[in-house]
């Protein structure tokens, strides 16, 4: 990991709200993070923790209404993406920030050929004509390891397998050499062997092309394999952030610790039941004024009900939003 490099993406105090029939839902609260050049940032959290919504908020992909990015700054190349007009944002989307989504089966348009869908961003952002775009599309398909690329451009998405379609999605995301790639659970819908192939592909492409990647997942195993740094989200906020080895070795937030506990071990007692975190994640009708994890937290104490802890540094490049020091087994000094 290139240490101390310039951040390409700097998110500060992001807040996203959904208007629903039952009132407002505060899906993302005070989220701040940065992404350095060439870095792979893993974002973990259970469903509904605000991982995807955070990333979609950055670049205006949330349907509005019901979603509304209420506050925050997203600095990309010295400009605030949230203040940009729709047209300039479109020029960045797909060109300098690429996306890969969860379900490759539905993410491609079924009635257009893969070639058409690959050419689109090339012609839109790079000013290529059809022939140039076609040549580049062949290169891209070869880059993501699709054999017989030239022929396959004429094929429709349904003629590809799930793993191949995800490769196509990655090719589309990489079409214009983006500086940032946001991958929203790209391997969740794939079976394990294909998942491993896609992970290998991303690792390889990352070194070849040198872009920064945000990898959203709820699979800690995947994170351990590829990430440089990990951000753990819970209840719409970042609860812990650390370099990957540090996080796995020395989790400082009880939620992270509990998450790590849930990973089943291959060795050991067979009769052992899978560990779970009891309870449900919260649905936030308002910006929380207390720790959102307190109901499920084994070490919660009085202060957790009165204040929502901010992230505080707990080690080298490591911060956590918790009043309790897990290592010492006592509350931190305020």
């Amino acid at each position: 990991m290139p240490d101390g490099a310039q951040p390409v993406l700097d998110v500060r105090d992001l807040n996203t709200v959904f208007q629903t029939r039952g009132g407002e839902v505060h899906a993302v609260n005070h989220v701040s993070f940065d992404l350095k050049k060439g870095e792979l940032l893993g974002v973990v959290g259970e469903s509904g923790s605000g991982k995807s919504v955070t990333m979609m908020s950055l670049i205006g992909l949330l349907p509005s209404p019901p979603a509304e990015v209420r506050r925050g700054e997203v600095l990309f190349d010295g400009r605030d993406l949230l203040k940009m007009d729709a047209d300039s944002l479109r020029d960045i989307r797909g060109a300098r920030i690429g996306f890969v989504f969860q379900d490759p089966m539905t993410s491609l348009n079924p009635v257009f050929t893969v070639g058409f869908q690959l050419r689109e961003p090339l012609m839109r952002h790079m000013g290529m004509n059809k022939r140039q775009a076609n040549a580049r599309a062949v290169e891209l398909l070869e880059l993501v390891g699709i054999p017989d690329a030239k022929q396959r451009l004429k094929d429709y998405p349904h003629q590809f397998s799930g793993g191949m379609r995800q490769r196509v999605m990655i090719a589309i995301a990489l079409a214009c050499d983006p500086e940032v790639l946001i991958a929203d659970e790209p391997t969740t819908a794939l079976d394990v062997t294909i998942q491993a192939q896609i992970l290998e592909l991303v690792k390889e492409l990352r070194h070849k092309l040198g872009m920064a990647i945000v990898w959203i997942t709820h699979d800690l195993g995947v994170i351990a394999g590829i990430a440089d740094r990990v951000m753990v989200m819970y209840g719409g906020q970042v609860v812990e952030q650390a370099p990957v080895r540090e996080l796995f070795k020395n989790p400082q937030h009880p939620y992270t610790a509990a998450l790590l506990e849930t990973i089943p071990h291959v060795r050991g007692d067979r009769a052992e039941r899978l560990k779970v975190i009891e309870g449900q994640p919260p649905i936030l009708g308002a910006i929380p004024t207390a720790c959102p994890f307190r109901h499920r937290c084994p070490v919660a104490f009085d202060r957790c009900k009165q204040e929502n802890p901010a992230r505080m540094p707990v080690g080298d490049g490591h911060d956590a939003a918790c009043f309790y020091d897990l290592a010492k087994g006592e509350p931190r000094d305020a």
Partner: protein, 342 residues
């Protein structure tokens, strides 16, 4: 695809034969009398003679067979003769399907009536589609906006108010209440003898078509725009739309290329399935505006117990329905690459 089409066409032959037989049986069961409209002074024995001369004395299978020969063999041969000026086998005394009421060949009657129906009803279908698709697209894209609400209201009206009401309403407003010399006056009766020779007569043709076309277009547009809207809404929430946006495509491209192309698949099918109704003529609307098209011909035939006319016309509608079902299926296969027929 070609194989599939040929296979389907082969399959339609027994289907259509069966349909024609059912129509024949049903018409035979109908309690009507082709001599019923003749003067009361004609004595029953003479009526019986007339019926016999029409072939009604023969058993039903013989009559059905004769109709089949007339329709499937003699009529096509006659068309060939007329087109190429030839005289194929038996052209001197070939028996065509004859209308009992007018004593003229049914096919000639249909050819006579076809242009009016195609102009008025066909035009209303085209106008309806052209109005409905943009309305459906915008209504879906701006769901629950005032435009969508207004569209929903107009569709409800078009759907639920029958054409014999809107038609008469239009006549009352535009032909009766508005003075004849006003520009807003429209003729309530469609004049078939009117010939378009110059700009003024073309203008009159447009004016006399305006009301029936409007009434029918409202009805067609109401149906198709609802369908279009639903189909667009289905597709707008699909993942591939998000992908297109994530690629930085302009909203216009996202909507009119990615979403519309997908949404049109079921709509085109529905439009194709609706075409036979155009040929069938909007029977009621044709009556209201006195358009002497196919719908009116059918009504007259039914009223006069003109069995060969009704039989032939109904059968032609059946052929069109079967044919356009096939066309809809083929269109589906062309528009949706996921559908394969081999």
């Amino acid at each position: 695809m070609l194989n599939y089409t040929i296979r389907r066409l082969m399959f339609t032959i027994p289907v259509l034969l069966f349909i024609s037989f059912i129509i024949f049986l049903l018409l035979d069961l109908a309690p009507n009398d082709p001599t019923g409209n003749l003067p009361m002074t004609i004595p029953p024995e003479v009526r019986e003679k007339i019926r016999e001369s029409l072939g009604l004395g023969q058993p039903i299978h013989v009559r059905y067979f004769k109709w089949c020969v007339q329709f499937f063999v003699n009529e096509p041969l006659n068309i060939i003769d007329q087109m190429f000026g030839t005289c194929t086998w038996g052209c001197e005394d070939r028996l065509r399907v004859q209308s009992w009421a007018t004593r003229s060949p049914v096919v000639d009657l249909i050819v006579e009536r076809m242009p009016q129906t195609l102009w008025v009803v066909g035009m209303s279908y085209v106008v309806g589609i052209l109005i409905a698709i943009p309305i459906g697209v915008i209504s879906a894209y701006r769901q629950y906006s005032w435009f969508d609400q207004a569209g929903t209201f107009v569709s409800m009206v078009g759907f639920s108010v029958p054409t014999f009401f809107t038609g008469v309403l239009m006549i009352v407003i535009f032909s009766v209440m508005i003075p004849t010399d006003s520009w807003f006056w429209f003729p309530s009766i469609y004049d078939t003898t009117h010939k378009v020779t110059d700009l003024a007569s073309f203008g009159f043709q447009i004016r006399q078509m305006a009301m029936p076309v409007f009434v029918l277009a409202l009805y067609n547009a109401a149906q198709i725009s609802r369908f279009m809207r639903a189909s667009m809404l289905d597709n707008l929430n699909q993942d591939y739309v998000r992908t297109a946006r994530a690629k930085g495509m302009r909203e216009r491209v996202v909507l009119l290329v990615h979403v519309l192309r997908n949404s049109l698949i079921p709509v085109v099918t529905v439009i194709a399935l609706g075409v036979p109704q155009v040929f069938g003529g909007a029977i009621i609307t044709e009556q209201v505006f006195k358009v002497n098209g196919l719908g009116q011909l059918l009504i007259i035939g039914i009223q006069g117990a003109d069995i060969p006319l009704v039989q032939t016309l109904t059968f032609i509608f059946a052929v069109l329905i079967v044919l356009f079902n096939l066309i809809a299926d083929i269109l589906y296969g062309i528009l949706d690459p996921r559908i394969r027929y081999d």
